[in-house]
Each structure stands twice: as structure tokens, then as C-alpha cells.
Amino acid sequence: MSQSPPRTWDEFMEGIWRQNPVFVMVLGMCPTLAVTVSGVNALSMGVATTFVLVFSCGLISLLRKLIPKEVRIATYIVIIATFVTVVDYVIQAVSLALYDALGAFIQLIVVNCIILGRAEAHASKTPPGVAMINALGMGVGFTIGLLALGTVREIFGAGTLFGVALFGESFQPWVVMVLPPGGFFVLGSWLLFFAALERRKQRKLAEATQNA
């Protein structure tokens, strides 16, 4: 249990690459597929989820010695629901247009399995600092995953990126990309891409061991 700086970095990077919630663990698919019709939506959903992740994991970790295991699920859900309510009000205060665009998926952060999963598997066993860094990494990883879908779908489906038109007047949007099937197409393509990367890495490793 050595607490060297590399471990902190490792905790942060876990969610971004090795255990990326979208591309590796394939968790939280409901918001991933539903709200990623544009870059702005994806980014705001990612930031909202990250906020809830970091603060609920922090509080859960802080109270971890106080929470009897018999009532842990109830306490986790209450804590998560609290921070989701906070995010809900903050988004309404920032922009009603954004609130309408994200719709019910803000409230549905409560049942996002990434958060309850992190609380159960990580925050309930580690001190607040480490738990929050790990949660931040997971949140950033989730945001990157959402952005990877959102930007691609927005470029193809609307010809814009974060609302800025990329192509000329003659651009005909590929409408299916901003419809539900588009979410599956883009997610599938990204998973294919990462699987190909993984396979190439393994082949190279195998070749290296053979040559050695």
C-alpha cells in the first residue's frame, strides 16, 4: 500500500484509458447513445456526470467507516441523488435550452451504473483523496467517450462542430447520424477501432517475444 505519486497518476489514468467506462467497460450506455447528438450536449452531459461522480465518491469515501454495509446501497443512492439534484438546478440556472436538450437524462444520472459502480468498487474502500482522483479520471474518460460520439455525429448529421458550420451551403446532412440508429453506428465504429488497436498491440507483443 505505498502511496507514491505514480499511483495517484495511475488512479487518474485508469478511467481514461485502461478502464474507460464507454469503450472498455461499455457502461452508462443510456446517456452515451441518447444525448450525443451534438458536441455541446455530449460535453455538458460528461461534465454533469463527472461532477456527480467526484462529489458522491468523495462523500461516500469520507463516510465509508460510518456506513454499515447493510444500508450501503440506500446511502449511496441518496448521496448520488443529492448531487444529481444539485446538477439539475445548476443546469437550469445556466441554460434552459441545454436543460431541454438533455431532458430526462440529467435525472437519469442517478441510475448511471458508472457512479454506483465506482462507489461500490472503489470509493467505499479508499480514502477521499484517492477516491476523488479515481472518480475524476472516470468522469473525464466518460466525457471523452461521449465527445468521441457527439462530435462525429454532429459533423456528419448536422455539418457543424460545437454549433460552428464546417461545410458550405451545399452540405446535405446525413440525418440518420443524429437519429437513434446513428448512435449505434458510431459507437460500433469506435469499438471496432479500439478492438483493432488492441489486437495490433497484442500481435506486436507476440512477435517481440517470438523474436527474443
Partner: protein, 228 residues
Amino acid sequence: MNVEALAPQTTPTVAMIRTLGLLSAICGLIIVASYQGTYAAVQENKRIAIERAVFKVIPTAKSIEEYLASPEGGVTKVGAGGTASPGAVKFYAGYDATGKLAGIAAEGVAKGYADNVRILFAYDPVAGTVASFSVVASRETPGIGDKILVNKDFLANFPLEAKLSADLKTLAHEIRTVKHGSKVNPWEVDAISGATITSRAVGKAINDAAQVLLPRISPQLDKLKEKS
């Protein structure tokens, strides 16, 4: 070190209740604080959103007043005290820079292709027409159903006649959506070919709302003429 391992079954009831109680208190505080902290900004955002939407359908309006039209026929200003009767319909009176009535805006809703289409339409009480409309909320297919806002032929339906019948109880002619190219009367909505269902939703939303609202407010127009 690990107390739980030593005494696995003996979590006292008090500990559970204490934790849950303490946690509820903390969480309650956080929720109430964030609600109160954002309340003013949220209300302001809602007000601006309504104002923008009304200004879009009544371009000459510079300020708005919110009213309720009750089933008995009276109109009351929202926020001026007095209780709204059940079944009252909300509408907005838009006033121009000199404080004269520029138009009346109201919401209408009807089932579209994907979900309810909620629109805001502007009624011109002088001409007896629906001058224009905008979409408040819709889940219609992008590129098909959302043509109602850009299709030139569809927008040419407005101003749309919405005159009351002689007894002032209903519209003289029901506002109907007809097949593309078969519009003959000024109270008919010419549908967009390929987006008939959404076009029909717009016509029905205007008709349903106008049938209820216009008989209630037309005897009260004098009360609305000048900004109070």
C-alpha cells in the same frame, strides 16, 4: 484492524439509523441550499425564454404581459393577485414600444409523428388571423418534420384566418390541415408533402387552442388594448 471481520453480524440498529439520519440531514441541506441558491437565476431564465419566444412570433412587441383566460370569460393578469379559476388558459399579450397591443400569443399542442408538438402562435385580433407560429418543443424527425419552420409553401399559410362565428362561441371555420396543393380557403393549412403528420399537428394545435381561447378573450379585448 478490521472490526467488521471480527463481529460480522452485529451492526447495531442504532448505527444504521444514525448513519441514515445523519446522511439525510446532510443531503437535505445540500439540496435545499442549491435550490434556493439557483432559484432566482432559474426564474429569470424562464422569464427570458418566454419573452424571447413571444417576441419571435410577435416581431413588433417590445414587452409582454401574462394573462389567464377563465372559462367564464374573464381575463386576469398573472401576478396581479386573485386566484385563477380551474380550466383557465394562459396567454401572452405583446405590446409595442408605445404600449399598444401588438398581438396575442398562446400555446397549442397536438400529437405529431414522434411525440406531442408544442407550438406558440400569434393571434392578430384586429385582422382576426393567426399571424405566425414557432415551435416550443418537438421530437419530430430532423430533416422531415422540422420543415414546418423553413418550408416556404408552409409558411405561406400564414396569416391564417381565425374569425369567430356570429355567436362568438366558436370559430366560424375550423382550422384544418389539407393535403398539399388542395388549399382553397384562408382558414385551411396547406400541408407539406412528406411531412403531413407534423403539418396536421400544427393545424390541430392552433385550432384546438383557438377554439378555446378566442371566444374567451374577444369580448375582453378592450381590457387588453393598452398596456396596464
